[in-house]
Symmetry: C2
Subunit: 371 residues, 2 copies
Amino acid sequence: MFLAAARRASPILLSLAVKTSTTAAFCSPRLANARTNTAAGATRTAYAACSISRNISLLSRPLSSMSASGASEGATAGAGSRRFVVAACQILCGSDKLANIATAESAVRDAAAAGAQVVVLPECWNGPYDTASFPVYAEPVPDPQGDETAADMPSAEQSPSAAMLCRAAAENKVWLVGGSVPEAGKDGGVYNTCIVVGPSGRIVAKHRKVHLFDIDVPGGITFKESDTLSPGDSITTVETPFGTIGVGICYDMRFPELSMAMRAAGSVLLCFPGAFNMTTGPAHWELLQRARALDNQCFVVTASPARNPDSKYQAWGHSSIVDPWGTVVATTEHEEAMLVAEVDVGRVAEVRTSIPVSLQKRPDLYRLELP
Amino acid sequence: MFLAAARRASPILLSLAVKTSTTAAFCSPRLANARTNTAAGATRTAYAACSISRNISLLSRPLSSMSASGASEGATAGAGSRRFVVAACQILCGSDKLANIATAESAVRDAAAAGAQVVVLPECWNGPYDTASFPVYAEPVPDPQGDETAADMPSAEQSPSAAMLCRAAAENKVWLVGGSVPEAGKDGGVYNTCIVVGPSGRIVAKHRKVHLFDIDVPGGITFKESDTLSPGDSITTVETPFGTIGVGICYDMRFPELSMAMRAAGSVLLCFPGAFNMTTGPAHWELLQRARALDNQCFVVTASPARNPDSKYQAWGHSSIVDPWGTVVATTEHEEAMLVAEVDVGRVAEVRTSIPVSLQKRPDLYRLELP
């Protein structure tokens, strides 16, 4: 039902579609809050991006579904497919956990309706980003299930956020990088956890934020996740038919080694649900994404919560999609928005061939060891 | 004599001086080709930058020499000094080696007259940036001298570029990060070498470019340094009274591990003489500098040759100075220019304390090994 309503709204909300052009193209913030950009070197990817002013409006469809010009393979998932559509959902979350779950579920549905095959939700979308809230909003999260039976699916009563992610991924047949929610670990610890669910509805990976956000910028922001959170202890990559996807959370992006490790594991796309703030957001958010993309010659997708004026923690927003050349191909402001872009995995190979840094490293002088 | 003439010219050429302000400030490109910027978080550093329209014009003096407001320590080198003035010289080089040497020597003199205590020259300033030219312009470069006698100084006949660097550093009492020149190695190889000279006139370090610039960007640029150059085999840092300075050359900047290693060796400033081109320059030059600065929480200084319309290789220019917060504090366009900035080493400690990434790394998950 949401979808039907949304489809009606889409024609006037579509912001921009850019295809195989070397001319930088921006969508005016006054027309829409998202913009797309193809710069020299990013010519083989087609993008569409848009923004929403209210929840649950379908904003755009990927270019591949709007054009007959050879982009049809991008709309089809499957082994060996070298194009896929990714969506970053910048949703507005508040303090009502069930309402947040409904918002996120709708966003996944809208993203899938827009053609997305990989959907990325924001960090900490099921409740406030606040150390005191983390334990309150936490829930158990089953370990990745592999071949286990359906009995291992998360319970909707005990784990409503995780259960929704599994349901939404299955119903919409998407790979869902489920942002993050506070996880009540069996060991008593609370983790900032990204649940990744495959189109079957099974949890295929669980990334617990490895680097906790403990910073103190005088005159800026002070935050100490470690007051109530425990850190994860593993590097997370997920095999998909589109290629390997690496998953980190927010502050994880500041540690180049983590992304390098995900790249070493074969990643072509790095996803970072994140919620930068009004101090480090303007200064570092885009820079870090572009740096991780360029250094590792991967696509990078970030999804932030929309800024909630009622929240103690003001999120920077600006979810983005960056290509392996370091070009921001789609971004947005701080309001609710959905970015949809077609990712041409072939572009990864092109960049890696053009500037073959991975073959030119000097293990005789330095080496990243992964114990 | 040059200096006297230059001093007369300086009042009208001074572009901007920004001090302890949180307001971003730009110098109009129409007024001068350099701009300075202090953003939030960069408030404790005072900057002055300027450009030159002809060689050997003194363009600016650092703020510390123009103001009595507590910046006097910045004008004085010495053990324990936490402020120093750095200059990046974007000089115009052609095919006349002796003329290039004279140009570079004048630039060092001008930088010192502007108050600089650390001076950075561009990559490949003694001849064309061209694989065929490297062997032609190459000269022997003595190894760092330590306590050797003056008899180990480079000969002006055999090594005119190196001899000039030693002379200029001594005469002007500066730490000279001497850009790079092609070095004729004793082993028969030709290296892209940065000679670092202390104020005594002795060579204190020699960095041979570790990562050779071999790239092939379709429709963009193809270059293969390895056609005539050999790679270096060491990571270079220099101890100075202002702190440790790391030295890389151009393409070396694309390898995060190298900068991380220089940071691990204690660097507070990373210098990259470089000559990006018209393809990768606009796309990556600033991004890489800011990424290396932010990830390692170091100042970064780059010096490019000015763009020479007569040259086969068109340099991007845009020499820059970036602070440890990742903010570009001074930059310029592609013409001849000199950037002068006061570096407050205390800012390094501030940023590292605010966002303590170096203490938050996860050696249980990844580790940079330096064999």
